[in-house]
């Protein structure tokens, strides 16, 4: 990884431009102010974690980035261009793949079909190319060293962890430059969690911009380049992993540390 410095105010300085950025994002659902002010900048070739307590606004932020919600205030920038995404297909077009917290799988369809949703392979103009759909799915799963009984297995028959892996594989299959994951290891055992970590590392190696939400700080510290802490709808701070500690991150999550201590952060 290239050498980076941080400015004295704790905002990491970066030679390249962010692939994806949020500026002063605000979002309310009726009376509920889900997001007050969120700033975020994620860079290619980095894994950027978002951490925070339940209800901090992590998923809401991710849904704005994936076109499912629209921000009330602020800007979403992709490659420094402001974009306004009205639905999830526009996020795909902007090069964003997403693994949602609820996985967004259709239980009555099989693994191959779920992996193709949103970009179903065609034969000719109108025909569904089921053979290719199954081949593609099997290939992606094999590349990721994931073995599911058969790509024809219905999602509804899989366990929670198996579904999670399929959802991750689907996002990887899309092979888009930006990939967002909302608690991708929530339902996974130790070995499977490590495997997902390997997948994230591989995505970073390929130069993708990875944004990942997680409550598992061990996982976060094992794979993060950058960590953004959210609390009560605000992005409190963004820290380089190399320059921070778990205690500091925990302090910021819970609010015992108010903001970044500029002195220490500057000492990169």
């Amino acid at each position: 990884m290239s050498a980076r410095s941080e400015k004295a105010d704790g905002v990491p300085e970066q030679s390249g431009a962010p692939a994806l950025a949020l500026r002063r994002i605000g979002k309310a659902f009726g009376q509920v102010k889900a997001l007050a002010r969120v700033d975020l900048a994620a860079y290619p070739g980095e894994i950027h974690f978002i951490v925070g307590d339940n209800g901090a606004g992590k998923s809401t932020t991710l849904k704005i980035l994936s076109g499912i919600y629209q921000a009330d205030e602020g800007e979403v920038l992709i490659h420094q261009q402001p974009v306004h995404m009205r639905d999830a297909s526009e996020a795909h077009r902007h090069g964003i793949a997403v693994v949602h917290q609820d996985l967004a799988l259709v239980e009555c369809l099989d693994v191959a079909t779920n992996m193709a949703l949103g970009a179903i392979p065609r034969r000719g103009r109108f025909m569904l190319d089921r053979a290719r759909m199954e081949r593609d799915a099997a290939e992606v799963l094999a590349n990721l060293k994931i073995r599911v009984g058969s790509v024809r297995t219905q999602i509804g028959l899989l366990s929670g962890g198996e579904r999670q892996i399929v959802a991750i594989a689907r996002a990887v299959r899309m092979n888009l430059p930006i990939i967002l994951l909302d608690e991708p290891t929530a339902a996974l055992g130790v070995r499977e969690t490590a495997h997902v970590g390997d997948i994230l590392d591989e995505l970073r190696r390929q130069g993708k911009t990875v944004i990942c939400i997680s409550h598992d700080l061990e996982f976060v510290f094992a794979h993060a380049d950058r960590i953004t802490v959210m609390r009560l709808g605000n992005s409190v701070a963004t820290l380089m992993r190399r320059n921070t500690t778990r205690d500091e991150v925990v302090g910021m999550i819970t609010g015992t540390i108010e903001a970044l201590d500029p002195e220490r952060a500057g000492a990169a």
């Binding site: 499912i68 999830a88 967004a104 259709v106 009555c108 949703l117």
Partner: protein, 334 residues
């Protein structure tokens, strides 16, 4: 990493094939049809006459054509209670244009289908824009369309209809009624769309998990609009076929009875009210079962109330079996 299936080998084992065959609605339905057929044939051997069997097919056609659109819609998570009135509206529109406006039959049919499709569009917009649940929205439009039909006709049947038009509903080739051929063609198209096009896959996705479909970037609203339009299209098509068969545009044809029969045929055929699951072949067998019961009870001179009792029992059984299927497929927990 390897993902082991929880119940291991049983998922791929032959045991599963048996369970699947049993759970396929067609298997059970065909058994029921045969049982009814044999019982009826014992009471009255005329049941097996070619003429009588053709009658059964002819009656099934009307249900089935409407059920094609209704099935796709229900698999996509929608519901249309207005089909009985759109059936009438389509038949009457075409009949009125031929009898009173002197339009040639191809034009009259085209306009009748257009009106039916627009009725479906109206349904979709009431649901999407006014946020009225489908069951209530289409119940409301059912009454509105029914009223329109009476308004157009003044409550009178529309006659006479051109001979050419009537032949479309009454003719046959090699003993096969035209109407049966229409049903086979429509059924084939519906089956093809559902099983072999990306649209069909998306319909199942929307019906199976609408939120997931949205999150995956499917144009859910557009898909739903198209489905309601298809439902209106096949309902009006059935109405036009019926008008051709009986040789008049009847205000009393259709109505709530037809709506209930179509919804029943679809549910008996194994389409889940919860969306996502079901097949056109199942619905075809469901439509044949309904018309077989109608016919058998007449031929075997069973009192008519038995007809409705039998249909009710089969409907409940079919939906109960649907729950068992879901439990197997999705680990439904209660």
């Amino acid at each position: 990493m390897s993902i082991k299936t929880e119940n291991g080998a049983s998922r791929q084992a032959p045991r599963r094939l048996n369970a699947e065959a049993f759970l396929r609605p067609e298997t059970t339905l065909i058994a029921v049809i045969l049982a009814i057929g044999i019982a009826t044939a014992f009471r009255n051997p005329n049941f097996l006459n070619v003429g009588n069997l053709t009658d059964i097919a002819r009656a099934a056609v009307i249900y089935f054509v409407m059920a094609c659109g209704a099935s796709l819609l229900m698999i996509g998570g929608g519901l249309d209670f207005s089909v009985g009135s759109v059936f009438t509206l389509g038949g009457i529109t075409a009949a009125w244009l031929m009898a009173h406006a002197g339009l040639s039959w191809p034009f009259a049919i085209a306009v009748g289908l257009l009106v039916g499709t627009l009725a479906g569009y109206a349904n979709s917009q009431v649901i999407a824009r006014l946020h009225v649940p489908p069951i209530i929205a289409t119940l409301g439009t059912f009454f509105i369309f029914t009223g329109l039909c009476v308004q157009i006709t003044g409550g009178q049947d529309i006659v006479p209809l051109p001979k050419d038009f009537q032949r479309l509903g009454q003719g046959s080739v090699l003993g096969v009624p035209f109407v049966v051929i229409y049903a086979v063609v429509i059924g084939f198209i519906a089956w093809f769309v559902l099983e072999h096009t990306p649209f069909g896959v998306e319909v199942r996705a929307v019906g199976g998990n609408r939120k997931a479909a949205v999150a995956n970037g499917l144009k859910v609203k557009r898909i739903e609009t198209v489905l309601y339009m298809l439902g209106g299209f096949t309902a009006s098509l059935a109405g036009i076929i019926y008008a051709a068969r009986v040789g008049s545009g009847q205000v009393s044809a259709g109505g709530s009875g037809v709506t209930l029969s179509v919804v029943t045929a679809v549910l008996i055929g194994g389409i889940s009210l919860l969306g996502g699951l079901g097949s056109i072949t199942g619905v075809a067998v469901g439509a044949i079962l309904l018309s077989t019961i109608d016919n058998a009870l007449i031929v075997a001179a069973v009192p008519p109330q038995y007809n409705t009792i039998v249909v009710g029992v089969i409907l409940i059984a079919a939906v109960a079996i649907d729950h068992v299927r879901r439990e197997r497929l999705y680990r439904v927990r209660r």
